[in-house]
């Protein structure tokens, strides 16, 4: 399995903070798992994707194997 982590407003859109999905998972597979509003948001240039804690320079190259964690990261607002 691959663990998806939805951060910030993406958790609201997904209706959950985490989701376990079948491995392996690539970009097209990820979009296929999401309903349209969420997929649209994830496709936008402001959302980044991290695989096991490392941000992907190009999220469409996602290749997550069993046991890995994929985080969906909207723009941050800290402090």
């Amino acid at each position: 399995m691959v663990t998806l982590i939805f951060l910030g407003k993406l958790a609201d859109l997904a209706g959950e903070d985490t989701r376990e999905v079948a491995a392996p998972l690539d970009w097209d597979g990820l979009l296929a798992l999401c309903d349209t509003p969420l997929a649209d948001e994830i496709s936008g240039e402001r959302v980044k994707i991290a695989l096991d804690g490392d941000v992907l320079a190009d999220k469409t190259t996602l290749a997550a194997l069993a046991g890995s964690e994929v985080a969906l990261l909207p723009p941050v607002s800290g402090g």
Partner: protein, 153 residues
């Protein structure tokens, strides 16, 4: 050189942290401390900060090391809240000590700009009132946050 990075999910007292931090660095020439608090007004009732354990803490540690090296610090304390907070509660504390004031002041400024614009936190606020203006709203990053960050490049 002592670096301390803390993520806390309960309220903290900045003074109780800065005192011991300062005492731990005898011989320092200056300490600079910034404390950010939940702003009141505009109907804000609460603020919630979410983080991502796998990235937030490592990112803060990397930032702290970078600042310590860049500004030649003797010590750096970086504390950030997560969870639900109310107006008047501290969200963030950065305290730096150095042999000279400029290093300490600049290090805190540098850390705050990076915490605001680059660190892995997501913020939403709860506003009073009914309808679309009330309830929880995610906070979008401000353009100013990125302008502030550009000062260090």
């Amino acid at each position: 050189m002592a670096i301390s990075v803390q993520l806390l999910d309960t309220p903290f007292n900045p003074g109780a942290l800065v005192g011991p931090f300062t005492n731990a660095h005898p011989g320092l020439g200056g300490v600079c401390t910034f404390v950010g608090e939940v702003r009141g007004g505009n109907g804000v009732e609460a603020l919630e900060l979410t983080h991502y354990e796998l990235m937030t803490r490592p990112g803060m540690k990397k930032l702290a090391s970078l600042a310590a090296q860049r500004f030649g610090l003797m010590g750096l304390l970086m504390v950030h809240r997560t969870g639900v907070m109310h107006p008047g509660e501290p969200i963030v504390l950065v305290s730096a000590c150095a042999q000279h004031r400029r290093g300490a002041i600049d290090a805190v400024d540098f850390c705050m700009d990076h915490l605001k614009a680059r660190s892995w936190f997501w913020k939403r606020e709860k506003r009073s009132g009914a309808g679309p203006n009330g309830g929880w709203h995610w906070i979008e990053p401000r353009a100013d946050d990125h302008t502030d960050l550009a000062r260090w490049q």
